[in-house]
């Protein structure tokens, strides 16, 4: 019975999460479509405004609060999907693991390679060399210039 209740709880929470994500995405699309229609009439009309976004968020807020409340309750009560604790069910992976295990038991030696200090040192030296070469060609300045300014297109602002 308890297991049944947990399943129902998890299913409701899953539906809530999916609904919140879908509604958030759908609201963004709706705001964009309405805004583009406004902009077709007036080029200076904004597509998004703080007010429109707040209005849409307010409409979804009860679902977000319900989901947050259920999350808090679930965490306090220790409700979780028991299946998540079960071992993986990838047959190929498990077959390979079993074969490796058998081989290891036969040879008394695992196949995982030991760390290779010489390779590590060589790669680290190469990395330092590349950093120095890049910095010489202005790479550090390049990184700084991009990092201290906001390219609106790059972060998705527009």
């Amino acid at each position: 019975m308890k297991r049944e209740r947990i399943r129902v709880f998890l299913a409701i929470q899953a539906a809530l999460c999916a609904l919140v994500a879908v509604l958030l995405g759908a609201s963004a699309v709706q705001i964009c479509r309405e805004g583009l229609a406004r902009r077709a009439e007036h080029p200076l009309a904004p597509i998004y405004t703080r007010e429109i976004v707040a209005e849409k968020l307010t409409a979804i807020a009860p679902l977000i609060f319900a989901s947050a409340g259920m999350t808090a309750a679930g965490l306090v009560l220790g409700v979780r999907d028991e299946n998540a604790d079960r071992p993986a069910r990838d047959p190929r992976s498990l077959r390979e693991t079993a074969a490796r295990g058998e081989k290891a038991r036969e040879t008394q030696k695992t196949e995982y390679p030991a760390a290779k200090p010489a390779l590590q040192i060589a790669l680290a030296v190469l990395a330092v060399g590349l950093i120095a070469l890049g910095a010489y060609h202005g790479g550090a300045w390049d990184a700084l210039c991009k990092a201290i300014s906001i390219c609106t297109e790059c972060v998705g602002l527009g």
Binding site: L10, Q13, A14, C17, A18, V22, I31, C32, L36, H42, P43, L44, P46, Y48, T49, R50, V53, G74, R80, D81, N83, P91, R92, S93, A98, A104, R105, T110, Y112, A115, P117, L123, A124, A127, V128, L130, I131, L133, G134, H137, G138, G139, A140, W141, D142, A143, C145, K146, A147, I148, S149, I150, C151, T152, E153, C154, V155, G156, L157, G158
Partner: protein, 502 residues
């Protein structure tokens, strides 16, 4: 059994604390969440190890992926070696330990996965999906920025622009959430691109609720890069061959799509340490054991556990000191974060019968103070000399693709209203590629200049380092519009008409 359960609970908790610590260190400029401005200090010369958008108001370092894409876009001058070298260094030293312990995006994904819902377990399907991130790396991080840069001479950080949920969440939403006037202005530029990225972010977030670290496993190119070095990295979970009998308990119990401990998908989270019945797995840095199972490692001496505890105490103390220093430096002491007074003067005394002058400022209805800037053609642009004309001031940078794309629109506007308009295009004082050389053969009709070392024009128009920015003044020199973001020819004509009507 009870001990094992307790240690299983303890291990993720201590890792979670380190993840929180790393996220705070990546984003130590907390002041940015109040001021709405990003950190513009010299710490951003360095790239951080995790995926953390450098446009986040709190970010104090450069994103290695962003730096790499932008460097590839300007592939001609070899600057890309810098970002590549940093990625290689992080890869060799830490490998995907970065993903499991340091990446802020990893922490966000794990918190989302903690929401109690039915969970999708790993399978052949999820294992196959892990190859997707290598395709994302090849196409969006390397091929598109490099190809577009070589073909069009414009930077296109394709992963940032089309996919990166860290950019949308930390950069875009982070900037929009700050209730400052400049940040409210960002709403005006949102459009199709933001909508698309927001939907991608919502989808990735939802996937992370049901599937452990969905973004990290299937899409993250940074994880793909670090994964290539996992087997050679200095830090990582290592298996003691003497103790391992290959039972596979580590692989079966792992949430990631690993085939073996320390393989390309292993994030060294250490969960397998406790699931190994032989205590064969430990987190190591070379020969030093950083974390070991409760029952200890094979090479443990009699007082190894004591030594580890002592070392842990010292490390915790040092880490706390570093965090305090970082918070102090990035919020108060760094010259880049000190508040500077507004460069506006009080309105001059006007004769009693004269029309009262608008107060100096940069907002609509205020009068932009006078300034003079030497132009590339040898002339000097003085704002006071432009009274009677509609004035457009555009802030740009050669590293900004939308800035370059909209320059022809300004040129066309200038030609269409010749004699009635003055357009000044000001390049940021942070010069990456010579703007004069870039403009040499373009034949644009506007005046071009580079801002002076004090960033006079940028400060006058209230630039927050966001490009492009366009300020429109009416014939009396009063601000009609001050907006960040790209413009279209229609927008420019509408702005001209608005300024003319005013």
């Amino acid at each position: 059994m009870a001990d094992s359960k307790a240690s299983r609970r303890r291990r993720p908790a201590s890792r979670r604390l380190i993840q929180l610590y790393a996220a705070l260190l990546h984003n130590a400029h907390l002041k940015g969440f109040l001021s709405g401005q990003i950190y513009q200090g010299r710490a951003k010369y360095a790239c951080v190890p995790g995926l953390n958008c450098y446009s986040c108001p709190a970010a104090v370092g450069a994103c290695p992926l962003g730096a790499l894409q932008n460097a590839l876009a300007s592939a001609g001058h070899g600057a890309g070696w810098y970002a590549a070298g940093i990625l290689l260094l992080f890869g060799v030293v830490l490998g995907r330990t970065v993903c499991g312990w340091l990446c802020p995006m990893g922490l966000i994904q794990e918190l989302l996965h903690a929401i109690p819902t039915p969970k999708l377990r790993k399978s052949r399907f999820t294992r196959a999906l892990t190859w997707l991130k290598y395709a994302v790396l090849a196409v969006f991080v390397i091929a598109l920025p490099l190809g577009y840069g070589l073909r069009h001479g414009l930077p296109l950080p394709a992963f940032c622009k089309y996919i990166c949920p860290a950019g949308t969440l930390e950069g875009a939403v982070g900037l929009l959430a700050v209730p400052m006037p400049a940040n409210t202005g960002y709403f005006g530029m949102l459009g199709v691109l933001f909508t698309r990225k927001f939907v991608v972010m919502a989808a990735v977030g939802l996937a992370c609720v049901f599937c452990c670290r969905a973004f990290c496993r299937f899409l993250c190119p940074l994880g793909a890069i670090y994964g290539l070095f996992n087997r050679f990295s200095v830090v990582g979970v290592k298996v003691d061959p003497g103790r391992c009998d290959g039972c596979g308990a580590c692989v079966r119990g792992c949430a990631m799509d690993v085939r073996r401990v320390g393989g390309r998908e292993c994030i060294s989270c250490g969960q397998c340490m406790e699931s190994c019945p032989h205590g064969a797995i430990s987190l190591r840095a070379g020969k030093i054991t950083l974390l070991a199972p409760e029952r200890g490692c094979a090479d443990d001496g009699p007082d190894a556990a004591q030594k580890r505890k002592k070392r842990g105490r010292v490390l915790r103390g040092a880490a706390l000191a570093v965090l305090c220093l970082a918070l102090l430096w990035f919020n108060a002491l760094d010259p880049a974060v000190r508040d500077e007074p507004m460069p506006f003067s009080a309105p001059a005394e006007e004769p009693a019968d004269a029309e009262p002058a608008a107060p100096e400022g940069r907002e609509a209805g205020e009068r932009l103070p006078d300034f003079a800037l030497p132009c590339y053609d040898g002339t000097t642009f003085r704002l006071a000399d432009q009274r009677g004309k509609i004035v457009f001031i555009n802030l740009w940078a050669t590293s900004c693709a939308p800035c370059k794309r909209e320059l022809p629109y300004f040129s066309d506007l200038c030609k269409a209203h010749a004699g009635d308009i003055a357009v000044l295009v000001v390049h940021s004082s942070m010069v990456l590629d010579d703007p004069a050389a870039y403009l040499a053969d373009k034949g644009y009709a506007m005046a071009f200049a580079t801002d002076d070392a004090e960033d006079t024009v940028a400060r006058l128009v209230g630039s927050t380092g966001t490009f492009p920015q366009t300020v429109v003044l009416n014939r009396r020199g009063e601000v009609v519009s001050n907006r960040v973001g790209s413009v279209t020819p229609e927008t420019l004509e509408a702005l001209f008409a608005e300024a003319d009507g005013g």
